[in-house]
Symmetry: C2
Amino acid sequence: MFWHTVAMATARDRVRAELVREIKDEARRQLATTGADGLSMRAVARELGMVSSALYRYFTSRDELLTALIIDAYDALGAAAEAADPARDDARGRDRAQGPDHAQGPDHAQRPDHAQGPHPVGRGDDALERWRAVCRAVRAWARAHPHEYALLYGSPVPGYRAPQDTIAPAARVPLVLLGVLGDGWAAGRLAPVFEPPYPSPPLAAQVERLAASLDLELPAPVLARALIAWTQLFGMVSFELFGQLVGSVDPSDDFFEYAIGEMAALVGLSG
Amino acid sequence: MFWHTVAMATARDRVRAELVREIKDEARRQLATTGADGLSMRAVARELGMVSSALYRYFTSRDELLTALIIDAYDALGAAAEAADPARDDARGRDRAQGPDHAQGPDHAQRPDHAQGPHPVGRGDDALERWRAVCRAVRAWARAHPHEYALLYGSPVPGYRAPQDTIAPAARVPLVLLGVLGDGWAAGRLAPVFEPPYPSPPLAAQVERLAASLDLELPAPVLARALIAWTQLFGMVSFELFGQLVGSVDPSDDFFEYAIGEMAALVGLSG
DNA sequence: CTCCATCAGAGAGCAGTGCTCTCGTTCCAG
DNA sequence: CTGGAACGAGAGCACTGCTCTCTGATGGAG
């Protein structure tokens, strides 16, 4: 019966999974050399010693292959960011792997018990350095995998659709950043950031709804500023990778360090 | 002799220029519907009632057509930004249309006389509102021409090359922003922004070199922060257009207003 | 005015693409 | 053992960017 396909791995299934992996590996290899739109189904098949039509048994279209690569890349970037922050509460993101329907009720009842209590002391103390480490990890991954980064944060190739499977992996980096901020806030290490430009009531409502859906305790101004820092980080990395910085600050190592420090200060992280 | 081709416009040249315009218009139309990599030379030719090979008399390759569209788009965006700031000193950017070689000496001797004197009073007073207006114009243009924006700030299609012809048009938006800041500084309306995270000496040297090449009088921290604001602005607009903001702050009108206000504060622009 | 070099367009063609369909073969469960 | 599902190969369709050759037309030089 069909429970074979979910519970057991037949020989066919195993070789199939292996072939899927090989196809993605070869596609990634081509991606790294020729770029996203240079990826050719026929070339992938050719390199793997098969004929192009056989490829369509595994990926029904070029778009589906690209989507698989996108998900893998989001996960790799997310893993790099998480690895750069060993102190993070990695249970926070785990129980929301698949984003539930918006109409669905809050699911923080599923939160594991060990996360219910107060945060262990010390996790918010080095929040600034954790923040910087995560930012550096994002940039380092992007520079190491420029074409995959471009696949994620460059122009959406056709008419920007965001497949449901990509939103959870895409959320990993911002979740790491917000986790650092949450720890810093819980430890009382966030400087007050309540100066004149306040979030408008609609924006405050938006970010509060966002904080609630993420089960995060952060005041609206901090969260709104975190979004600014998030967009700045990726805007800066994109500009560096896409050559927009040549002629101004290139190489941009020092600018990057300065920027992430300024954005850390913006969200209230003090040394 | 050949001076005809540089000094006069023969009938042939005029009809040729007209056809070049029509080709670019049709290409832009296709760009707006099918996206950048959906642009087909054959389809453009077909729509114009000619055969594809005839197109190559005007653009020797698809890349060349795309480059022309990129330059036009940079210019359109730059014009939109400049139009949003009528108070700007539009002579500043004019005399550096073509970026000179880096080895070449300073060219501020060519600066027109009327810009030598002190800035007229009043231009720095509304610097905050000018700044916000320019930011809004950038976002509005991007939302009105998403595919052209993606062409400019999305992934560089092959292996990111930046043709020399594109760097001057690409610099128009940052120049407008810096012009506002320069006026604000000259009018003494820039709040002091010398707090703990300082630009490192190498970064300070970079931005000072940049300021000198742009003939701008701005302290290094302000310029470095302006670069942060610049990358944040385009990072935010890109995230909005490329669907990275869905699920967090979408629609992002209020977030945008908050962000440009915060970044204005970062560079020292007070209300 | 004539001449002829330059230019513009048409058409065929090459090599490549994504994708579909059909046709034997292989594998594995019942 | 057998029937059906999965699989790979091959041919083929419609499309792409681009090159080459050939034919007219344009318009400046003499």
